[in-house]
Symmetry: C2
Subunit: 183 residues, 2 copies
């Protein structure tokens, strides 16, 4: 039997904290006819995650306190799309703001939804190669942050250390980038 | 200057849809003394994602409609922790229920929070090696689903195809598993 999507019968807004999030409850009909009420759905902005590689084959990572994992964490430059902004423009802006770089070549690593059931924003992942300095970083974020540049070998070691990274989008992006890099 | 965590001054509950989620608003103090009000925080259950490899070196993936990406998607066996359940017990249970397997060897691939800012549950990722059939799958999930077993080579091809997977936890888990498998 071919798999079929669910059908949304009606939607209620439970909470609106735009632009950060909206929480909705859907009544959905399954392919076998059953109706499930109040299936929760989170709407939150899409975001970009960029793994920057410079001309010395070093990978740029941001070190900062992150509220989600509640720890000082390492992650690639990342940020929410601004209203009306394209995904590519957001990626270039965040790379410039957080790493102080422009890239020679962009590779799309795909877009992935954050929550398999609940939904939420999509993470748009990129590899940015041939990065060159283009001025001092200026993230505008609440977080104090610093950038560290590590060799591909060190990035691979961090990636395989189950403790080094605290965020799902970090291991997703770093893994996809490493799979495309030599060494 | 060393990086410091933020301090939580007070917390308000905005919405309680336990056991699926709770949404909170924190007033937080940054290391420079500034106070930010209403920083949103999502609480949702932790979950496990298991990449199963059988004795013929094939990787097991579940094909089903997923509400988050709103598409028929491929993903490793996965599921929420039940109340009081350990992470390891949840992983073994989901592998048995969704893939109909027991594993000879478990490798912890780390735990990662879903949202860097908003928080949410932690995804506990595993590689389950030497999987053997232990009875028919019985997921108990709302989704109709089927399991497909693919070679490591095919899994790598899917992983590098930016369209094949729709969920962040899928590419995170598959990437970490592939990095530990020969070939």
């Amino acid at each position: 039997m071919p798999l079929e999507p669910w059908k949304t019968l009606r939607t209620r807004l439970l909470l609106d904290r735009s632009p950060w999030l909206r929480l909705l409850a859907d009544d959905v009909q399954l392919p076998d006819g059953r109706v499930v009420n109040d299936y929760l759905r989170l709407e939150s902005p899409d975001y970009v995650v960029i793994v920057p590689v410079d001309e010395s084959a070093r990978i740029g990572l941001i070190r900062s306190y992150k509220r989600g994992p509640d720890r000082i964490d390492l992650q690639p430059p990342a940020g929410l799309l601004e209203p009306g902004e394209t995904v590519q423009a957001a990626a270039e802006r965040e790379l410039r703001e957080e790493a102080g770089c422009v890239a020679a070549t962009w590779t799309d690593l795909g877009a992935y939804v954050v929550g398999g059931n609940l939904g939420g924003g999509w993470a748009h992942l990129f590899l940015a190669s041939g990065c060159r300095p283009a001025g001092p970083p200026d993230s505008g974020d609440l977080e104090e942050q610093e950038i560290v540049w590590v060799s591909v070998e060190d990035a691979r070691r961090l990636y395989l250390n189950a403790q080094a990274f605290g965020q799902l989008s970090t291991v997703a992006a770093i893994g996809l980038a490493l799979a495309r890099l030599p060494g």
